[in-house]
């Protein structure tokens, strides 16, 4: 953006800056006073004064006084690493899955879950919607959830069952510092902001509306869209427009997760791809959508057992972990086998 006409300098100085190519604040961020002096043919002190004036107008606080050229809002990798280790994660109630995910679903990241029908994607997302509300005293995140349902698979009775399981689990931890509201099933259900949308226009509208919604509801720590695919598999003659809409939606969701520090979980479907005479099942919405998520989890069956596979992750290895779905929600396989006896 050309800001040169608002800078508090005399016209001659501004024209010198423009002639040398400095028209935006960003272009003046990284330049040292001597380089600037050389470029616009002024003395070094003059250049230093110019830079100081501009830095003083700038509201950013991450500059050191010596003008070390840091971009607005940039952090060092060390700061990022420290921050990442303190990031909280949402447990999935299944120990193997949690270790697969490096502790659970990470906040500030977009995770996609895909799989064939009936594998447990909706169960997974409902379990996360309950588990995000586990209070901090019990090693949880203690937040609320926005559940965007596009398929009508969210059944309150199932959420009730899972909430009961969660409450039973909290009871078993017997933490004295836990306030009684976390042991009441109704609390868990009332903390779910449920949106039911019936076509892709509504889906786009809800995602656009999320920013404002989150301003008013700061305790939301999880957004679930189940499923993000359903309304985009018809009504689009032109695939490129679909790709554009999807990528803008993906960008928005990434931005929301980053800025509001919450986790976004997207549920995706699978489709068949024929290549070289063999048909494979691949995640739906195409190749370009694969870039919209940070992590991708694929759920599949093997010999009557459900597995989750970490297909894409910036930091975690690609391994599989088994899990089960029971009356109380998701759980690990050993627990299930033990309970059966």
């Amino acid at each position: 953006m050309d800001m040169s006409n608002v800078w508090p300098f005399p016209l001659s100085l501004r024209s010198k800056l423009a002639a040398a190519g400095y028209s935006t604040l960003a272009s003046l961020q990284n330049v040292s006073p001597s380089a600037l002096a050389r470029d616009i043919n002024v003395s070094r002190e003059e250049a230093l004064r110019i830079l100081k004036t501009l830095h003083g107008n700038d509201k950013s606080s991450s500059h050191s006084s010596s003008g070390s050229s840091l971009l607005n809002g940039a952090k060092t990798a060390w700061e990022l690493l420290c921050h990442e280790n303190t990031r909280r994660r949402i447990s999935t109630s299944c120990a193997e899955l949690d270790s697969l995910l490096g502790g659970g679903i990470c906040l500030q990241e977009v995770t996609e879950i895909c799989g064939a029908p009936g594998i447990g994607k909706t169960q997974f997302s409902m379990q996360l919607a309950i588990n995000v509300q586990i209070p901090k005293e019990a090693d949880g995140v203690g937040g609320k959830v926005v559940y965007i349902d596009t398929e009508g698979s969210f059944m309150v009775e199932r959420a009730l069952q899972m909430a009961n399981g969660c409450v039973a689990h909290l009871h078993s931890l017997s933490l004295s510092s836990l306030s009684s509201e976390y042991l009441d099933v109704d609390t868990y259900l009332s903390n779910i902001y449920y949106f039911r949308i019936c076509n892709c226009t509504e889906q786009i509208a809800v995602v656009n509306h999320l920013e404002k919604f989150l301003e008013d509801h700061k305790e939301v720590k999880l957004i679930v869209i189940d499923s993000v695919t359903f309304h985009f598999r018809h009504n689009f003659e032109d695939m490129s427009s679909r790709t554009r809409i999807l990528s803008s939606m993906g960008q928005k969701l990434m931005h929301i997760s980053e800025s509001h520090q919450l986790a976004v979980v997207l549920v995706n479907q699978v489709t068949t791809k024929f290549s070289g005479g063999i048909s494979k099942l691949i995640p739906a919405l195409g190749e370009s959508w694969s870039h919209a998520c940070t992590n991708r989890l694929i759920l599949y069956w093997e010999d009557n057992q459900r597995f989750a596979y970490m297909y894409k992750s910036p930091s975690l290895p690609s391994v599989s972990a088994p899990f089960s779905v029971t009356q109380d929600g998701m759980c690990s396989v050993n627990y299930n086998k033990r309970q059966r006896v």
Binding site: V156, C198, H234, S279, W301, E302
Partner: protein
Amino acid sequence: MSRKRCAPLPSVPKLTRKCSLGCPILDSFLNGGIPCGSITELVGECGSGKTQICLQVLLSAQMPLSQGGLNASSVYIYTESYFPFKRLQQLAKGFLDAGKLSLGILPTQKKFIFPENGFEPHCLEEDSTMTGLRKNMCPYLDNDKSNSASITHGLVTGSGDINPQGNGAGILQDHELHGTLSNEKVRDCHHVYNDISSSYDQTYSNKFPPKRPKISEVDVELHEYNHPCDNIFVQSIQNVEELNVYLDQVHLLLSRSLIMPVRLIVIDSIAALFRSDFNNSLKDLTMRTEWFFKISSKLKTYAHDYDIAVLVTNQVVDDVGSESLITQNSVHGMLSGNFGSLISSGRKVMPALGIGWSHCINTRLFLSRFSPPEWQAQPEYQHIGSSKASGRSIYIADPKQVNSDDLGSGYQISVLQQLESELPDDLLLTLSPKKCPSMNTVSGKPNVPYSYLERKTANISGHGYLQHGSLEKTDDVKDFGRPPLNSLRRKLQVIFAPHLPPSSCEFMVTTNQIFGVTTSSPVQPVCNKECKY
């Protein structure tokens, strides 16, 4: 969709209403019945009972809310051949006899003309009642039923001396939307004319001189009997474009406020729409998948907006193995559902329409037929015919006992049929593997062992052996230890559902109803032990 949708606001999700199936065992298996607000699919091979269950749900949806029904009318869309009207009437009769449904009585008000000289009153709105309106019916209603009646039953009220009976709230109900009529209405039509003219005569001749007063128009308060079949709207659909158009019209029907609003849509079957028009080419398959999502998106929108239940039936295809869609167990193969256990009539099957359609439904229920493994294990069970009462095949146990010279299979069938007709209605006859004395010491003829069991629970109530021409009962045995040796067993299995664990339940189809059974000692495990319940 013409329904106004406003800015996205979070809504409070309510407990899903369920539509009972009409049988307490099946209802508890499905945690209440067919859920509203989502699409439920019944998938199974031909003859597995899909249409039967659909017909029964059409009736059970009319049951009052207190009994688990929806107190609602239904729309039945059929795509294959004909509408099973006779079977629906059979089931309706079963429901009426069992007291689950009753003939509803609707107060209504119509105008009558009493001609001065004649005795027969004419209803002013005769043309505008069922007969007439159904001629200019909206295109989605079935017009080929010729049973029509304008009035069924009534009491004349009028200006003057005749007391009105019943309440005065006569509102012309939306009778014009009833697509089918029962035979009772036709009968009652004539009855009414007699009623009105006789009451007219009686009242007036006692109080007044024979000269008739000049009444030209009289408001008549009528009571109309509403047969359960009246609350079902049927439509035949041939291809998917037609279905798309029809669903837009159904929207009008859903938004109308009837006495019994439409709260159930049944499509039987959705597979037939897609199996002929689309080739196996990639382009056609992609187009077909788009149609899946278009149709199911519309259905789900209605399901949510009007809180209705949608029931769809699907067919099966043979599961041929690795050359078709993936059956490899690997993440890149991504097994398309846990289909390993779908067996019907002894062969491996999987639902038709592929994985695209599987994504469009919320709940999938698989219906199958099977024979207990004893049949395969013991080849000496010989098929001798079918029972006249139930139509089931009858096998005879240990036919070596039977001397084939003078006891042909025809005799055996007739004896068993006679036996079945002698049993009370709540008992079923089947053959048992229990050993009995092979030869009757008295008559010298061989014995045919049988057992009878309670219809409702399929628990063995007693057994005996059949002797030549007569019925001998031995001591009743409460727990027989082995399940009944029926030639055909039916199973309803949950493949996936958001609110149900994978499990199965057996059921039976009889003349009066479809009901679930709990077997005392099941041949196969009733519940797939994936989930702890």
